[in-house]
């Protein structure tokens, strides 16, 4: 029974910390669906969100092995409670024809997106939302229209007063 889990990790913001985490996943053949990392309000601490998938026993091992890394300060499996998850998409679409421009403007509005760059031949649209919502947008845009796209990977927080702090 494979489940997807979103794990939030606070780790020391030091050279090599990221490779310790990614190296752990590759060395033990764990799966990474997405990974994003950046410093927190405390510059000595980075916060990483990893989306992984595995059986309950594998996910338990992933969490234990992550906790064992000397640079990991604390972590939480966001699947353990209610959570909020968001992903950012930047997508560049072909739209030299007026009907396409109108169509993509409408599509961006439907997805509460924003057109962040315009040229004669293209729109770059920014969408935020659940990963499934991003998938839907990409589908709706149509693969023939896509010049390029980039996704941030999932970010997540626990809902309510619960938090992950040092």
């Amino acid at each position: 029974m494979i489940e997807q889990h979103t794990i939030s990790i606070l780790l020391e913001n030091e050279a090599g910390s990221l490779s310790r985490v990614s190296g752990l996943f590759s060395a033990r053949a764990y799966n990474i669906e997405s990974l994003s990392v950046a410093p927190t309000e405390d510059p000595s601490v980075s916060r990483m969100t990893v989306v992984t998938a595995g059986s309950p026993a594998i996910v338990e091992q992933i969490i234990k092995q992550l906790n064992k890394l000397v640079d990991v300060i604390k972590l939480v499996d966001l699947n353990d409670g209610a959570r909020i998850e968001r992903e950012l998409l930047l997508i560049k679409l072909h739209c030299s024809k007026p009907d396409k421009r109108a169509e993509f403007k409408r599509l961006a509005d439907i997805f509460s997106g924003e057109i962040v760059d315009i040229t004669e031949d293209s729109y770059t649209i920014q969408i935020t939302g659940l990963p499934s919502r991003i998938d839907e947008f990409i589908q709706a845009a149509g693969s023939r229209n896509i010049i390029e796209l980039v996704r941030s990977g999932v970010l997540g927080l626990q809902i309510g007063n619960r938090s992950l702090t040092t």
């Binding site: 780790l11 020391e12 050279a15 090599g16 490779s19 310790r20 190296g23 060395a27 026993a57 338990e60 091992q61 234990k64 092995q65 906790n67 064992k68 000397v70 640079d71 990991v72 300060i73 040092t166």
Partner: protein, 573 residues
């Protein structure tokens, strides 16, 4: 400013403040400043090896025998890469070690400079943690952290990579008394509720089994383990890494378990109803086929590393903590009940185990005209009165040493169990002999393993280390040959030792004594003679029966109850 010190001075002072006795190393360009400071002092004794792998294994042997972290210094590039095998060896067996690697100057890092290698990157998967020292101001605190991380919690090797310019830069020196790391806080005390549950389960057992591993030795829990076992009267088995944690000559001890464990230990594991695993990690060489492992048992698992628990086998009562602390608590809880010690002679479970014992699975042909390797180990035990430090290399001789040298004390059996590193035996014996100059140190090896770190014979002469090398020379990579015989229809693909040197002359050319023994009648007298020479290294080349196999054996994919016994024992089982 007068109180400013160079990085190299700080390095040497920090090691002295840390109480380091020996530094196993090999100089090179990136560590010349460090070696210059080592030259100027005599607090820390530097041991010059002949190859960096030897340095790591020697430090490892020192750590296994003493419990103190082994310390290594090598240069950048090939110095670091040569050390990797020894670092990985220590990592697999959770041995505390601090390895300093020289690095090119910070300005050159990433430029493919001469003797540059990404040491932190290369060693990351086989260390407990590693550091790159980027500023001389961080050097002392990183050294402190390195020793703390290496020797606390589940121990392991820590690498500290020091660029050359850091060793020349100046700063004030202060060695911290203690160190606090917000991201690293090992759990050492067991959970009281879990300990109570474990005690209840243990006392309700009809067919209990105690299975202890290397954690009981590394965690210095031999005394608590012995007390715990005697308090209950239950059968005890040790893993390859755990031999000596419980006295091997005690009747409660049913022998080693696993692939080459005893019939009684493996059968008792298979049939037990409650299993307590103590500082052991359910390694594949222990469990055999996981689907068939301990099918009826409720399992209690004590380990300092939470990640070891429920990794391979699901556990009913997990207890995270230092083995010694948890056992003390468990003993207290059991003492407070009205439990009775199980009497071997009136207990059905023990009667069953003793029936399995009657097969005498370790018997071998004692009438052979060829030297049987098992007999050499039995003789070694007799000559050393069971009181030697025994290091080994990897292969058949390692298994025979584990099976036939009865270890009654912890930290006496020193072998590469996890990684299985050929070449480990001789350099690890150097570390042991340096730590205990008056002790008897025997290195059990084979002609193939021995040649993997043979250059250290020179180090042994330089430091006058009177190690006794017992080489069970069967002119084969014996364990490979055995598997080829069993599973590849005797196609002995490249498992023979061809073009062997004359080991007697070889030992002599290194300034030692060499002996060649090829008759069973000479085994005892030769060993007596060799061990009487307490101030000399003696290399003993025993020409043994080439066809001898290690029995019993659980083949890959088989369960613990499906042992392959020696030909003579098969009809008895």
């Amino acid at each position: 400013m007068s109180n400013q010190l160079r990085g190299a001075e700080i390095f040497v002072k920090a090691l002295a403040d840390e109480g380091v006795e020996f530094l196993f190393g090999y100089p090179g360009g990136a560590v010349l400043h460090l070696y210059d400071e080592i030259f100027k002092q005599d607090t820390i004794k530097h041991v010059l090896v002949r190859h960096e792998q030897g340095a790591t294994h020697a430090a490892d042997g020192y750590a296994r025998a003493t419990g103190k972290p082994g310390v290594v210094l090598v240069t950048s590039g090939p110095g670091a890469t040569n050390a990797v095998t020894g670092i990985a060896t220590a990592h697999m067996d959770s041995i505390p070690m601090v390895v300093f690697t020289g690095q090119v100057s910070t300005a050159l890092i990433g430029n493919d400079a001469f003797q540059e290698v990404d040491s932190v990157g290369i060693t990351r998967p086989c260390v407990k943690h590693n550091f790159l020292v980027q500023r001389v101001e961080d050097l002392a605190i990183i050294i402190k952290k390195a020793f703390y991380v290496a020797s606390s919690g589940r121990p392991g090797p820590v690498v500290v990579d020091i660029p050359k310019d850091v060793t020349a830069a100046l700063t004030a020196y202060e060695y911290p008394e203690t160190v606090e790391m917000r991201s690293y806080k090992p759990t050492t005390q067991g959970h009281a509720g879990q300990i109570k549950r474990a005690a209840d389960l243990l006392l309700s057992a009809k067919k209990p089994m105690i299975y202890s591993g290397g954690g009981a030795i590394i965690g210095d829990a031999s005394r608590e383990l012995t007390e715990f076992c005697r308090l209950l009267g239950y059968p005890v088995t040790n893993t390859l890494m755990g031999l000596g944690a419980y006295p091997g000559s005690d009747p409660q001890f049913v022998g080693m378990l696993g692939m080459h464990g005893t019939y009684e230990a493996n059968m008792a594991m298979h049939h037990c109803d409650v299993l307590i695993a103590i500082g052991a990690r359910f390694d594949d060489r222990v469990t055999g086929d996981l689907e068939k492992f301990c099918p009826e048992a409720k399992i209690i698992h004590i380990d300092i590393d939470p990640a070891s628990i429920a990794k391979n086998v699901s556990v009913d009562v997990p207890i995270v903590g230092a083995v010694s602390n948890v056992l003390k608590d468990l003993i207290d809880v059991i003492r407070a009940t009205d439990h009775k010690v199980v009497e071997r002679h009136s207990d059905d479970w023990w009667r069953q185990i003793d029936k399995w014992r009657e097969i005498k699975c370790l018997d071998y042909d004692k009438s052979s005209a060829l030297i049987k390797p098992q007999s050499v180990i039995e003789s070694l035990h007799r000559v050393t009165k069971g009181d030697a430090y025994v290091t080994s290399d990897v292969g058949q001789h390692q298994m025979w040493a584990a099976q036939y040298y009865t270890f009654d004390q912890p930290r006496r059996w020193i072998n590469s169990g996890g990684l299985g590193t050929m070449g480990f035996g001789l350099p690890s014996a150097m570390g042991v002999q340096l730590a205990f100059p008056g002790a008897t140190v025997a290195c059990v090896t084979g002609e193939a393993s021995f040649q993997m770190c043979i250059q250290e014979l020179s180090t042994c002469l330089q430091y006058r280390l009177p190690i006794k090398i017992i080489s069970l020379n069967n002119r084969y990579l014996g364990m490979v040959r055995q598997w080829q015989e069993f599973f590849y229809e005797s196609r002995y693909s490249h498992s023979y030792s061809d073009a062997l040197p004359d080991f007697v002359k070889l030992a002599e050319s290194y300034g030692h004594i060499g002996m060649r023994i090829d008759s069973p009648a000479d085994v005892d007298t030769a060993l007596d003679e060799a061990f009487a020479m307490t101030d000399r290294l003696v290399m003993m080349d025993f020409i043994t029966d080439q066809t001898e196999n290690v029995y019993p054996m659980i083949a890959a994919g088989k369960g613990q109850h499906e042992m392959h016994l020696a030909p003579n024992d098969r009809e008895l089982a």
